[in-house]
Subunit: 218 residues, 2 copies
């Protein structure tokens, strides 16, 4: 379809968060970036994304670029914001509809790194193309804010997890220690998690219970 007098073209980009153990074993919040292969900003890192396909839903487009970039399925996906400043892109005007997503860190989808895809610590990204640095900052703010009042942390983990693992997710993202006892009680009271009855074996200490997320919870 050809249309005249279009006001702008539409792109969909996604800020993809995961947690991966760094060299010293500590979890680190990371996002994948892709290297641009054409102008403008050729050679610079940018958020994964691309033009909106004619018959594709916005969220489906975000989901697809996520899959193409990481080989993974999103555990959580939400629209972040539409960025449309006329000056944000040199040349043709582009309105970017940006999503943010969580993927599990255990799935080793990051083996998919290539010459043009790499993972960076979320609060230490290089200078990016367009206004993408500001977008990453905003997504990071939204992730931290939402984690405080919502129940999305399990999106970083597998189907079952211990409370210590879930607590570490909170601690890494919110960058502050959390009292284990209070954390347990708060979560149990919220009924966001259900004990599976299974326990982790082979720890050097008392074996912790495995939990799963309660899909039926409000």
């Amino acid at each position: 379809m050809t249309t005249d007098n279009v006001s702008a073209s539409i792109a969909v980009s996604t800020v993809i968060f995961t947690l991966t153990p760094s060299a010293d074993g500590v979890l680190e919040l990371c996002i994948p970036l892709v290297r641009r292969i054409r102008e403008p900003y050729a050679g610079m890192w940018a958020l994964p994304g691309g033009p909106l396909s004619p018959s594709e839903d916005l969220a489906a487009s975000a989901s697809r670029t996520l899959r193409e970039t990481t080989g993974l399925e999103p555990r959580y996906l939400e629209q972040l914001y539409a960025f449309g400043d006329p000056e944000r892109s040199p040349g043709e005007r582009v309105v970017s509809i940006v999503y943010w997503a969580l993927v599990g860190g255990d799935e080793a989808g990051q083996a998919l790194t290539s010459e043009n895809v790499a993972w960076f610590a979320a609060d230490d990204v290089p200078p990016l193309a367009f206004d993408h640095n500001a977008i990453v900052e905003y997504a990071l703010w939204r992730l931290r804010t939402k984690l405080e009042y919502s129940r999305i942390a399990h999106g970083f983990l597998g189907p079952t997890f211990t409370l210590a693992q879930l607590r570490e997710v909170y601690e890494v993202i919110l960058q502050k220690p959390i009292d284990p006892g209070n954390f347990r009680r708060t979560l149990e009271a919220s009924r966001a998690i259900v004990p599976t009855g299974e326990r982790v074996k082979g720890t050097r200490h008392r074996p912790p219970q495995l939990y799963r997320y309660n899909e039926e919870s409000a």
Copy 2:
């Protein structure tokens, strides 16, 4: 500028909230709608808005349609969501970037009603064009949610107001009574309001203090 292979065209719409006294003197939450004069959905009511102008910022576009529809300036304006389902509009695909806004009810901008612009109670709108009924519902949810943790209620009022007026705004939108004493203390503690020193005269009872919003507050 002409571009081939565009994925969709972009429109900006706005859900504009105001409070107006109804026939029996009770405040009512209202939004303006415009009658469509062309297909699709010709003759039906729809949210005010239009195509994005080539060099216009998204928020500026929302602000402009608000002004054209109501003759007023927004007291509060925020992006709501980008709606982009491929099936949401018959014919050409349209991605709508929707804003929501508050305007003061005292300014009588509603005198600007014409054949093609009318105000409706926010929770009693007629069947609308496109997916606009769902959009209004979402905006209403967002307004109520945001009012609970943010300080935007003064956007419905003039530069100065009594605590009773501000409390009525909360009561009408949240649809529940609020304790006057606790309301006063909560607001004073938050330092969101500043007493002007002036009082309203001519009431049948003790004259209330006038306050204004504290722009310096966090």
